[in-house]
């Protein structure tokens, strides 16, 4: 979490007396909202957000920052699967953006916003200089009288180094104010003479814009109902009252007048959320640009955008295939945000050439398998040499925002070879084990990118495209069990920067450990997703069977890959193991 470094020193004591604190304002709003929504039975079958989950629509404003050098700066806010960016500032060390964005907050949904500040580059990718993470729910419930707060920005490679600070404000809109604003904006759509009131003609157009095909006489009836003071015009307050009243009885809004999306008529909460967020685009203060999935994507320079333009519409979650396979989006479970993993262009090209084409796979059949093994063995020798230790700092720099040295058990001087660092241990407690005393809960076996499927069939439909894949093929000839064949499958893929030790997902006794020799294909999704390649059933692997009280037998398969083909175990057959215990590690070698 970003540490709050200071508060608004300018907030006067008098404001404390006149204005309730942020906490009490937030509580008031939640309190105000609760009885209104709980009473509505129509909300009990929400497909989107339930009243219990809805925490409010937060208005987040990035005010400005203080950096340590001059540049043209931009900032990004990421929350869940959405990222928004500000405009570029002037060339300064104190950029001002005053950019705001309305964000939907759910109590059980993503609420940790990551703010990233980039120095901009005219041609190439923009550089991330500082970041902070702010729990918006915590921010809103914190008892503070200040309208804005200042947060330290941390260096992405060394999170203990402060590189600047950013000031921002966040508040939850009062529901009454939301409804008023909403009515005001709706009214402005058809208020052709801009007098702030609707004539019958304007009112009639508005009803049509809502996708409501009511008859003319019905429109007249609605107009009379709305025109409470009988002056022949509908004011903003009158329209707000009509919308609130009518939405309970016979909803007027069938589709969004901004984006045209069909609205769930009985779903007042989601209608209000949709319309409020939709109306927010292009209005108010300088609004942040949206539509990005990650902060990296939002920060690309124009050159990158041009190169991506050809397949921009295909930019989506998960693995992209073909020409767009240069990035993988993964969902960070801890922060509930999408993060982008870039794969080096040359690697992508070579992997596509080898693993996504028949010709490439043909090459593998005529000797490249041996070559991969030989390269991996040579790499293992190199990484076990004392000289290889000089590569450690370069490796850390390359993955600067993905390796947290603070949690590594020993200081860097301790590692005499690169492989020593690669199989680094972590400090005690660095990886808390979920429900440690409850063996009925299984846990993740590795720091990794995980895919989980109820059955092998599901995995074949979504992820593993190798034509020869089967559970039996994965387990090898020595382990035969029908119960595994229709069983559930969890894949933990480790990336080079990850902590490379694997742990037990369940408690039990190690019944068997079986070595299966094989190839050392890459386990990158590009290969896993190739119909021509069968990495999981052809690669070198070790299958262990753990007999457990609560899960029956669990097969644990450690699969070697190109370069990282050495698998070492710290336990043996017959050992009783506790979930979360270390089982072994992968290292460079064949």
């Amino acid at each position: 979490m970003g540490n709050e470094s200071s508060k608004d020193s300018s907030s006067s004591d008098s404001s404390t007396n006149e204005k309730p604190s942020r906490l009490s304002r937030f509580k008031q709003k939640l309190h105000f909202r609760r009885p209104r929504n709980n009473g509505s039975t129509s909300l009990s079958h929400q497909k989107l957000f339930t009243a219990d989950d809805f925490a409010g629509i937060a208005l987040l404003t990035l005010i400005g920052a203080e950096m340590k050098f001059e540049d043209k700066w931009l900032a990004c806010v990421s929350l869940g699967e959405q990222t928004f960016r500000t405009e570029k500032s002037d060339n300064t060390d104190k950029p001002i953006w005053n950019s705001e964005k309305k964000l939907l907050l759910e109590k059980k949904g993503p609420h940790v916003a990551r703010i990233s500040v980039f120095e901009t580059n005219r041609v190439l990718k923009n550089n991330l200089i500082g970041y902070c993470e702010i729990d918006l729910l915590e921010f809103l419930t914190r008892d503070s009288d200040s309208d804005f707060e200042v947060f330290d920005l941390f260096n992405p490679s060394s999170p203990d180094i402060v590189v600047g600070n950013i000031s921002l404000s966040c508040s939850v809109e009062d529901p009454i104010e939301t409804e008023k604003n909403f009515a005001r904006r709706i009214l402005s759509i058809v208020d052709y003479d801009e007098d702030g009131k609707l004539s019958f003609l304007e009112f009639s157009d508005l009803i049509s814009a809502f996708g409501n095909q009511v008859a003319v006489n019905k429109k007249e009836e609605l107009f009379k109902t709305a025109d409470v003071n009988g002056d022949g015009l509908v004011s903003m307050d009158e329209l707000a009252a009509l919308l609130a009243l009518q939405q309970e009885k016979e909803p007027l809004m069938n589709c969004c007048p901004v984006c045209g999306e069909v609205l769930e008529v009985a779903d007042k909460l989601n209608t209000m959320i949709h319309l409020t967020l939709c109306f927010d685009e292009g209005t108010g203060n300088q609004v942040m640009t949206g539509g990005f999935l990650t902060d990296k994507q939002a920060s690309y320079g124009w050159m990158f955008k041009l190169s991506e333009w050809g397949h921009f519409s295909s930019y989506d979650v998960g693995l992209n295939s073909g020409s767009s396979a240069s990035h993988i989006l993964v969902f960070d479970r801890r922060t509930k945000r999408l993060v982008e993993e870039l794969i080096d262009g040359k690697i992508v090209l070579s992997m596509r050439a080898i693993y996504q084409s028949k010709v490439g796979l043909g090459l593998l059949d005529i000797g490249t398998k041996e070559l991969l093994k030989s390269i991996s063995e040579k790499q293992g020798k190199k990484m076990n040499s004392v000289e290889s230790s000089k590569d450690i700092p370069k490796f850390i720099e390359f993955f600067k925002d993905q390796i947290n040295l603070a949690e590594v058990k020993y200081p860097l001087e301790h590692f005499k070879t690169f492989n020593d660092f690669f199989i680094r241990e972590l400090k005690l407690g660095a990886r808390p084990i979920a429900s440690l005393e409850n063996d009925e809960v299984a846990v993740c076996a590795a720091d990794s990118r995980l895919m989980a499927f109820k059955s092998a069939e599901d995995s074949l439909r979504v992820w593993i495209k190798g034509r020869k894949f089967s559970i039996q093929g994965l387990l090898g000839k020595e382990i035969v069990s029908d119960a595994f064949v229709d069983g559930s499958l969890v894949i933990f893929r480790l990336a080079p920067q990850d902590y490379h030790r694997f742990h037990f997902p369940v408690s039990g006794i190690i019944e068997r450990i079986v070595d299966i020799p094989g190839c050392l294909y890459t386990v990158n999704p590009i290969a896993v997703n190739s119909k021509y390649c069968n990495v999981f059933t052809e690669n070198k692997r070790v299958v262990s069977i753990i007999s457990t009280k609560h899960f029956g037998k669990v097969a644990f398969i450690a699969i070697g890959a190109t370069m990282v083909g050495s698998i070492t175990f710290l336990k043996k057959e017959g050992d009783f193991v506790k979930k979360g215990d270390e089982f072994g590690y992968f290292s460079f070698g064949g």
Binding site: V317, G318, L319, I328, V330, F331, D332, R333, R334, R431, S435, E440, V441, A442, V443, C444, A445, A446, D447, S448, R449, L450, A452, F453, K454, D458, V462, L474, L475, A483, F484, D486, G487, S488, L489, V490, I491, F492, R493, L494, R501, F502, H503, P505, V523, F536, H550, F551, G552, K553, V554, A555, F556, I557, A558, I559, G560, A561, V564, F586
Partner: protein, 48 residues
């Protein structure tokens, strides 16, 4: 490198968020020790 765990049929109820992400070809970044799922035996006993 990769680790694959295979559970016997109907032995584990994998956490919904992991299944939902996987269902749309989206890998989930996890760490050692995070919850993976609950024994179906436990769920059946609770239901009884």
């Amino acid at each position: 490198s990769t680790v694959i765990c295979v559970f016997e049929k109907d032995a584990i109820k994998i956490d919904e968020d992991l299944l939902a992400n996987s269902g749309r070809s989206l890998e989930t970044l996890v760490r050692v020790g995070m919850s993976l799922g609950v024994s179906m035996k436990e769920i059946a006993e609770l239901a009884l």
